[in-house]
Symmetry: C2
Subunit: 167 residues, 2 copies
């Protein structure tokens, strides 16, 4: 007997905010550039030198992140040099931080070299390692994805794509 | 007076696990495919139909995610059809979930349409909305990235890239 389609097949993905967020975040260099800026490395040449981001890629990513409202350009001038810009996080950019922490935690667990993680994120007050927890708005800590139900939200749209099977 | 280089300039990015994780996650379709699979949409044709992932891209992403140990192929056979495969999360794949939740939360806040988020992730037990919190290993909830210090970890390497300025 044929398995019924998963319920999620009925909801459209066209306005999925994970998809939209990853269209911004969704490529190694974009997140790497944000990592640099969170680490105080805010200038084009510094990012290029430190992260090895190719110049043309860096130019494109910084322009996109400014256009999308994640970064703003801030002018500075070193003595005897022309005015340049550094890049600062907007509130929207600042709020990417939990994504970065979640990505780092997963990377540390599965992708670190034998000697261990290259960096640690520590709580300034107590020095303990920082990670993300799943928590609900009622304050319950959630241990497993199995304890989370994904349902259509206020902006859910019916799936409209052509169905090539079982149509 | 010239601003001193940020301290993070001294650590290498070559073994950065955020960079490595984003080399896997770092492109819209990869995370979209994982979103589908977390929603129970595990078959090639289903993902193609539902998410609109182009077939060649979907083939590539599924193969990469299997190669990297994020997904495993599991055979199934519908009556009268040839054996096909569905894709299931490994433990490594399962652990991507907080990244997905963090990305969704950020996307919902900044990228949703006026009618609101397309989907909701709810705590199965109480129905409250699920998100990520920054928490340290000592159990303190952390309200701001300013309360987190990033320092070299056990696997930190000295930065080795050529410095084009201030060298």
């Amino acid at each position: 007997m044929s398995q019924p389609d998963p319920a999620a097949m009925n909801w459209s993905t066209e306005n999925c905010t994970i998809g939209r967020a990853m269209a911004i975040l969704g490529e190694r260099w974009t997140v790497v550039v944000l990592r640099e800026i969170f680490n105080g490395i805010r200038r084009f040449d510094q990012i290029h030198d430190h992260a090895g981001t190719p110049k043309q890629v860096l130019t494109n990513r910084l322009a996109m992140l400014c256009d999308m409202g994640v970064l703003v350009r801030h002018p500075y001038r070193e003595p005897g040099e022309r005015e340049r810009h550094e890049y600062r996080l907007t509130a929207m950019g600042f709020d990417v931080y939990p994504v970065l922490v979640a990505v780092r935690e997963w990377g540390d667990r599965y992708l670190a070299d034998l000697e261990g993680a290259p960096a640690a994120m520590l709580h300034r007050d107590c020095g303990a390692s920082v990670g993300v927890h799943l928590v609900c708005a009622a304050g319950h800590h959630i241990d497993s994805p199995h304890d989370v139900v994904t349902t259509p939200g206020p902006g859910a749209r019916a799936a409209a794509l052509p169905r090539t099977r079982d149509a």
